[in-house]
Symmetry: C2
Subunit: 451 residues, 2 copies
């Protein structure tokens, strides 16, 4: 029989068990963290009608989309979780209560050019808060708290949530008569980190065709930094020149004002006037999250405020604010950088029960008892030599092996061997369960990410 | 602007938040239950190369498959989790340890004719144990324990795990010289439940062209029932006539022998010689699970033993045993039958904090404190009348509202209102968290399924 090569498509992440366990832990922390902030889980189809999915018009994304016919139906795979959310909220409007807070962790598809670290199938982990007609600025102030809490729960501490406000930027460009070139300017300013101020000045003059004094204004503005109070004081100097700017400044004041109450240390937060988030639909606060020792990774959590989630589906004004974590890429880079902890249990079980007699009753009952106590237990069923059984446990990095032989049966106990320390103790099944559970809980109590 | 209708494709389940919460609970129980039996979570791509996915040859399934070109690539969406498992095990053979035990809960795709209760995108929740060259029969004996434990954790008690053995059937057909017609006979016998013995006898004679005495033999065999001991005694009468039969009987003996040690009550278990599981690749024990008061639903968990998981990818013999729960369909029928409990919290949050003052600091700090204690908390940020805020809490079925007004600020407390009983108490933030957490834990302690 001719064999087909069991290959996986390039750009599709498929992890080995040990890595998958780490990924599962990250997902579980995201689920918990999002839930604790009062977001409800959603699950929408991966396939949608192409007309529905592309209602907004695609631009760059449209070229990458997986689109195909099935019978007479023109179908497409979702390329983000925002369009499905817009569809969901517009479609179920009358059945939902607003503000509507949902999280979704799901796979999305983009047929990008395959290259190392780029994925065509990847998880996004999104939260959004959608208002009906209006949505208070406090929602925008809450987002940094969610980012902070999520990343610290993952074990990350060296990160900074960078915040800006699109009204501030738009107002600033308006007061300088540069509104029409705002897009070009923002794209150029975005290069500040990479090429420096001098080069950006040249680009603004040569390519965006700005007067040198105007370019200077832009650079002065973008250079504003410091503590939140310092930044806001500096921005106050521009007040009164443009209404949109003033509104943006008020919003930024509110967002920074409640940071401490939301539990976000100022160390993990910075107003950064250079970030804009390219997408046109952001209209207020925008967010990026940088790993301070790995700025080359780019933002690991981004988003912002938008005024019109679902204009292509409904006339209702549905403003919102949301953030997204590119989970597959984050996992990939953390793994590459060696930042995933190796301390936690990654084996399929916490205890491997090894029967040492022909009759398996005792060993099976032992496994049943351990399982009833919540210990993840595998019964080793194969007829192999003892050495092969122990080597299996070693290879899987099982933390505890439980031996059930004639002595144990006679005494009504189990021999519990700690595979890391080699220590072996005889315990009743109930005590064995407690012994294993507490040791495993301790091992697992650390964080997934180890900086 | 012309609006696109925000519709969801037919055959694709998209739940409202309250239902989704119930689905999430079911998934979490499956994850926990599978983990406790020592299965490791896997996640494979939804898109595979069509050549890889269809290596086995499709038959019925091939027509239903979602297959399409992307650039030069001939792609397809997975239609089950077994072929991806075969690919994974064959492809990562040298990196895995055997027996390899994995669970996977994921979406699969079949373009079936749309009809009520039929899904084109649906979750399967699978476990499989794969051996390298051989796999002990004890693994087959363990499967009923996993089914029993999973369904009881979900809250289901009125179900029966029906078990048969393909070797028994094949051996029985061989000893009667009916091997060549075994497929037709099994398909006919499968109708016993629906049309009764007399009609099946006629069909065996008229359509399968059996001699009346042979048809009688088949019906006598299929009628064997009773306790495990009774069934096995009755089967012993056939011993010595066919080697395969004898082997199957030994296997069935082993599977039933350890049931009690595995914690499976005999009430939830029955040897049923009429079940065969159509698929050709099952070679030993086969399983179906019937809800005893809802037999019309059909099997809610099925599977069996196979000898050659990945023959189309590799020459290695990879026997295994596995079961699958059609989760989306199960959820759908439980919901339709009114069997999903309404007792547990389905709101996005356990506590809705309602600020009653202009300055939000106190309310925000309160929300932060509740969240730090693990209470799922939403801060109500909108500027609405008090009545509108309470009506929002009612609509979402939030169990507790937490009021933070001037009195509470002065006293350093929170007013915690139980929305079910109407009871309202003033508590410190820490006590409020404990009060809410314990009440919510109690509400959530019941099972998802309520028979």
């Amino acid at each position: 029989m001719t064999k087909v090569s069991p290959r996986t498509l390039s750009g599709f992440m498929e992890l080995l068990p040990e890595q998958q366990m780490k990924m599962e832990r990250m997902m579980e922390i995201l689920r918990q963290s999002y839930s604790v902030y009062g977001f409800t889980p959603l699950d929408t189809p991966i396939i949608e009608s192409a007309e529905v999915l592309l209602a907004k018009g695609g631009g760059e994304t449209e070229k990458q989309i997986y689109r195909f016919m099935k019978g007479d139906s023109d179908l497409a795979l979702r390329f983000d979780l925002t369009v499905p959310l817009a569809k969901y909220v517009a479609g179920h409007y009358s059945e939902l209560s607003f503000p509507f807070r949902r999280y979704q962790i799901g796979k999305v598809y983009r047929g990008e050019r395959a290259q190392r670290g780029r994925f065509r199938e990847f998880y996004q982990a999104d939260i959004d808060i959608i208002g009906d007609g209006r949505l208070d600025i406090i929602n925008e102030a809450e987002i940094p708290a969610i980012i902070y809490s999520t990343f610290t729960k993952l074990g990350m501490h060296k990160f900074r949530i960078k915040v800006n406000n699109r009204k501030l930027l738009n107002g600033f460009y308006a007061m300088n008569g540069m509104s029409e070139r705002a897009g070009d300017i923002m794209r150029t300013v975005d290069k500040l980190d990479k090429v420096g101020a001098e080069k950006v000045r040249q680009l603004l003059i040569d390519e965006v065709k700005m007067l040198p004094c105007k370019a200077e204004n832009v650079l002065d503005f973008m250079a504003i930094c410091g503590t939140n109070d310092e930044v806001i004081s500096a921005l106050e100097r521009y007040r009164g020149m443009d209404e949109t700017f003033d509104l943006g400044l008020d919003e930024l004041r509110t967002v920074t004002r409640y940071l401490a109450d939301f539990g976000v240390p100022e160390d993990n937060f910075a107003v950064d006037l250079t970030i804009a988030r390219g997408l046109d639909y952001y209209t207020g606060t925008v967010y990026e999250t940088e790993m301070t020792e790995h700025p080359e990774i780019g933002s690991v959590c981004s988003g912002g405020r938008y005024d019109n989630l679902a204009g292509y589906y409904t006339d209702r004004q549905l403003p919102g604010v949301g953030i997204s974590i590119g989970l597959t890429r984050l996992f990939y880079v953390l793994n590459e950088q060696g930042l995933l902890s190796g301390e936690q249990v990654t084996s399929p079980c916490d205890a491997l029960v090894i029967p040492m007699t022909e009759d398996m009753s005792y060993a099976i009952s032992a496994a049943t008892a351990l399982r009833s106590s919540g210990v993840r237990t595998q019964l080793y069923c194969e007829k192999k030599k003892f050495k092969a059984k122990m080597s299996y446990a070693d290879k899987l990095k099982v933390p505890f092996v439980v031996l059930a032989g004639e002595d144990e049966i006679k005494e009504g106990v189990l021999s519990v061997k700690n595979m890391l320390t080699g220590e072996q103790v005889k315990l009743s099944p109930a005590d064995a369960a407690r012994h294993i559970a507490s040791a495993v809980a301790l091992k697992n109590s650390g964080a997934v990410i180890k900086e």
